[in-house]
Amino acid sequence: MDILTYAFMQRALIAAALVGITAPAVGIYLVQRRQAIMGDGIGHVALTGVALGVLLNTSPVWMAVLVATIGAVIMELVRSYGKTRGDIALAMLFYGGMAGGVMIINLAPGGSTANLTSYLFGSITSVSPEDVTVTAILAAFVLVITLGLRRQLFAICQDEEFARVTGLPVRVLNLLLAVTAAVTVTVAMRAVGLLLVSALLVVPVAAAQQATRGFAATLAIAVAIGVIVTLSGTAVSFYVDVPPGASIVLLAIAVFAVFSLIAAPLAKKRARAAVRAEEGCTLEVPGAVPAARKPADDVGVGAS
């Protein structure tokens, strides 16, 4: 375990673990709302923030948090108000954010696109002690929201209209989720880079839900997968000398593949059991069951 004797690796592993916990904890809500691509969009917009930080000679990370938050709030407003051309508006924001970053970084004195590389692809081994503190504070904020309000966030992502009728402050919760996603993206930026951030938000969740039946279980397993792949990916990159972002994301995809392979026969078995249970119920109905009713009955189970 010589890896733990280096201070820079200790910091890297702490940051990696924090990213591994927070990214799936936010990502699950985006996946639930079928908005998995949002993390990618925020990543693009965050690039403008990084470049602004370099240009204004302030902290690129805090500028990225600020700009990504503004971008995420705009995306949320487009989602909730804009009905028809929402995808186009989001595309403008994505590519505008990316182009803005490249433009601004080249305007900065002595700045060039090379300055962005560590943010685009991650550089977890260069995490400073101050970075660890900032990451820990931001990760704590993300966890308080995503775990503390998980029932409320589950409700608004599962069925937004119903959630509004329960009287929940749906608009506030949606904006809070957007801000939390933006914070998470900037936290994860150091580990996996802006281009791969979305993978860490989405892939552990996608892997976990191969094997789960419920939301809480999916959340727990996704966070566990997140921590395992960020820690082992960081360790791999120490020994093999590859960028950690790449090894983390490829490991996550490998976990997804393994879960899919294991879970596919399991899910089939479960579906067959459900169909059998169904038949049992239908037979108990007193009187004849009109044949025409049957297809509608089976839709949730058998359709493909």
Partner: protein, 260 residues
């Protein structure tokens, strides 16, 4: 259940107009539901019945007219736990699996709001599941349920907050006979306990004996408000066609896709 003219109005919609996009869907309808009444909103597809109930629960803005809930102007109404809403089944589908218990527990948020749920809240979830005969499926994924079972879960989600007024949008659409029986029985129990019910129906069907009054819409106008139309066969309403909402294609037990 009849003769409730003196009972206070729970829902009062007066001269309500609403549009979806540029298309006017409601053209000045009046709809009053008094406490203890069971009112069915009938009409062909596109007649505006679904829009009417969505306007009642504040999900479609009125371009003109007035809405009062429990005697309070809708704009100032805050007491949402008094209303149990069962939307059309198409709206409830997430990209992550959820258990029956988790979905029903979401309905309890009408009472707990931002607070942590307690013992009473967990007990209420189980009670609601028992009411619709789904307690044994509490830990199953909603994606593994049939249309009728899914509908029962959505009704449990509405009942879990112990509402006084139930608003249901096409609760019988695409529901198998066994589940129809359970739903009718659940509704009967609620009505006997004093609940008020406003429901959108495509046809009166097995709920007919429960219904005190029917309001029939056509092209966004009320064309009948009174006793349930007699001898209306299952499929005799104007413009009848079978459209049963199924969102379940993207909601199956076998998950192979990543994001879809």
């Amino acid at each position: 259940m009849s003769g409730t003219d003196e009972a206070p109005a729970v829902v009062s919609l007066r001269g309500a107009s609403a549009a979806l996009g540029a298309r006017p869907v409601l053209r000045g309808i009046d709809l009053t539901v008094r406490r203890g009444e069971v009112v069915a909103l009938l009409g062909a597809n596109g007649s505006g019945k679904s829009t009417a109930v969505r306007a009642v629960v504040g999900q479609v803005p009125l371009s003109s007219g007035e809405l009062e809930l429990f005697g309070t102007p809708a704009r100032r109404f805050k007491d949402w736990a008094r209303i149990g809403y069962v939307p059309q089944r198409t709206t409830a589908a997430g990209g992550v699996p959820a258990t029956v218990r988790e979905v029903v527990a979401a309905g309890r948020l009408a009472r707990t709001k931002l607070k942590w749920p307690g013992k009473a809240d967990r007990a209420a979830v189980m009670t609601a599941l028992e009411q619709v005969g789904m307690a044994d499926r509490a830990k199953d994924s909603v994606g593994a349920l049939s249309g009728g079972q899914h509908q029962r879960v959505l009704i449990a989600r509405a009942l879990v907050a112990e509402p006084e007024l139930l608003i249901m949008d096409e609760p019988m659409a695409g529901v198998d006979l066994a589940s129809q029986e359970v739903l009718a029985q659940t509704l009967r129990t609620q009505v006997e306990a004093g609940a008020t019910v406003l429901l959108v129906l495509h046809e009166l069907g097995p709920l007919e004996p429960l219904i005190d009054r029917a309001v029939v819409l056509r092209d966004g106008c009320v064309v009948h408000d009174g006793p349930p139309p007699e001898a209306v066969g299952q499929h005799a309403l104007p413009g009848h066609d079978h459209v049963h909402p199924h969102a379940d294609a993207a909601h199956e037990p076998v998950r192979t896709g990543l994001l879809t």
